[in-house]
């Protein structure tokens, strides 16, 4: 336990679901982005998985819509301390997108429209734990929340769920992404409070 701050009681805490350490519950949907919100025209949108041998697998928006989708209900945890429980999304599982991709890579570097990147182990994208999501709460995903499509990897801090996702590069090495190069954790497990490098 940290040192006690005199006179701090915190807000009344009805017993509820447990949150990761240092997180608080919000009903809002705050936004964390490093710059302006990119606007991506649908007719030029594409999603590309590039393997370590430079093989490219591409999907247009129409291709993506034609794939079977899931509607996961998940908890999300932002490194700026808010958590939001029971959010419902619609998207295509990375298992589906990866099914024809032949790779021996261990890591993924995710790229977004607007230049954002984030890194994570490839295994964290598989086994029903990650999606390319295009609907939130029954609505098309709004641009400020990453629309038309974002990555959704809810078991890691939400900056790993890259907004405006445009592709994934599969790699043998773990290349730090945008926030990771600015001192944030390479893995980012909220339950182990891996916010910053060295946590």
């Amino acid at each position: 336990m940290g040192i006690v701050t005199p006179g701090f009681r915190g807000r009344p805490r009805p017993s509820g679901p447990e949150l990761p350490p240092g997180q608080y519950l919000t009903e809002d949907f705050p936004v964390l982005s490093a710059g302006p919100t990119p606007r991506v025209p649908m007719d030029r949108w594409e999603f590309v998985i590039t393997t370590e041998t430079s093989r490219e697998h591409r999907w247009s928006w129409t291709d993506l819509m034609a794939l079977p989708s899931d509607t996961p209900t998940v908890d999300i945890h932002c490194v700026t301390k808010w958590s939001k429980l029971g959010t419902t999304w619609q998207g295509v599982s990375l298992d589906t997108l990866m099914s024809d991709v032949d790779t021996a890579a261990d890591y993924a570097l995710v790229h977004s429209y607007g230049g954002y990147t984030t890194n994570l182990p490839l295994s964290d994208l598989l086994d029903g734990r990650a999606w390319v999501a295009y609907r939130f709460d029954g609505d098309d995903l709004h641009p400020e929340h990453g629309g038309p499509a974002r990555l959704l990897v809810p078991h890691l801090y939400f900056w790993k769920s890259a907004k405006w996702v445009r592709g994934i590069q599969l790699r043998f090495d773990d290349e730090p992404g945008f926030w990771e190069s600015a001192g944030y954790h390479d893995y980012g497990d909220p339950w182990r409070e891996q916010r910053y490098q060295g946590d």
């Binding site: 006690v4 701050t5 936004v31 060295g198 946590d199």
Partner: protein, 250 residues
């Protein structure tokens, strides 16, 4: 679970309130003594952790408002309605009391005093805090890079650092300050209250051809609006750095 300290690891430090200043009826500047503070760049923030008697703790981020002076750091906290941490820091927290903090955090929303590009700062409400750190650092470093600040507030009484901004706008060569009032204007002001829009940014910012570095900070809606305007005016999105403080507000 003990873990060896690795270089660059951000560990929790104890800070004590040395001094406090009321900026507005609802915003308070906290000057903290933090032994061993490693220093920081303007634009970076700290995580503050409060712990109650029963072990419950709450963490929030606060921008550093000024360059570090040895182990002294300054934060300015806006009290938000029903705010768990801000209400404590603006109301209860007293001189000599400890809080835990760690940082500095953030390597993107920073201005480096060695920078040479003109700078545009656009603040909404408490979003002035990290931008004020940039203005103060510019002066402290003797930088001559031209700065323009556009500062949107609800009413004249909501301006943080009001006297200092007035003085700096007069004395810091190359610093221009423009106010936008959204609810009430000072006596004799040439416009009725208005929200920030293309005209204000176009008139009081820099032309995109000068490739200025733009820093936009405030509530999410404000930052979205201003960042969109800057891109629409032709600024390179990669030169528009944003920090979003929270869901709602001025």
């Amino acid at each position: 679970m003990a873990r060896a300290a690795v270089p660059g690891r951000l560990s929790w430090r104890v800070g004590r309130l040395a001094e406090a200043r009321q900026e507005t009826p609802t915003a308070r500047t906290l000057v903290l003594d933090v032994p061993g503070w490693p220093g920081h760049l303007p634009g970076q923030h700290v995580d503050v952790r409060l712990t109650a008697e029963d072990g419950y703790s709450a963490q929030r981020s606060y921008s550093l408002a000024a360059p570090a002076e040895g182990g002294r750091v300054e934060l300015t906290v806006q009290s938000v309605p029903e705010g768990e941490v801000s209400a404590y820091l603006t109301g209860v927290y007293s001189t000599g009391d400890p809080v835990e903090l760690r940082g500095p955090v953030g390597g993107w929303f920073v201005w480096r005093p060695a920078g040479t590009q003109p700078v545009l700062l656009v603040a909404g409400g408490s979003g002035i805090v990290p931008l004020m750190a940039m203005i103060r650092s510019r002066r402290a470093a003797g930088s001559r890079v031209p700065f323009r600040l556009i500062y949107s507030v609800r009413t004249p009484g909501d301006v943080y650092y009001a006297d200092e901004l007035r003085r700096r706008a007069r004395d810091d060569a190359g610093l221009d300050v423009t106010f936008v009032y959204t609810r009430a204007v000072p006596e004799g002001w040439p416009h009725p209250p208005r929200r920030i829009g293309v005209t204000v940014v176009n008139t009081n910012g820099w032309p995109p051809a000068l490739t200025p570095d733009c820093y936009v900070c405030g509530p999410t809606g404000f930052v979205e609006t201003v960042a969109d305007i800057l891109v629409a005016l032709g600024h390179d999105p990669r030169r528009v750095r944003t920090e979003r403080f929270g869901p709602t507000g001025g």
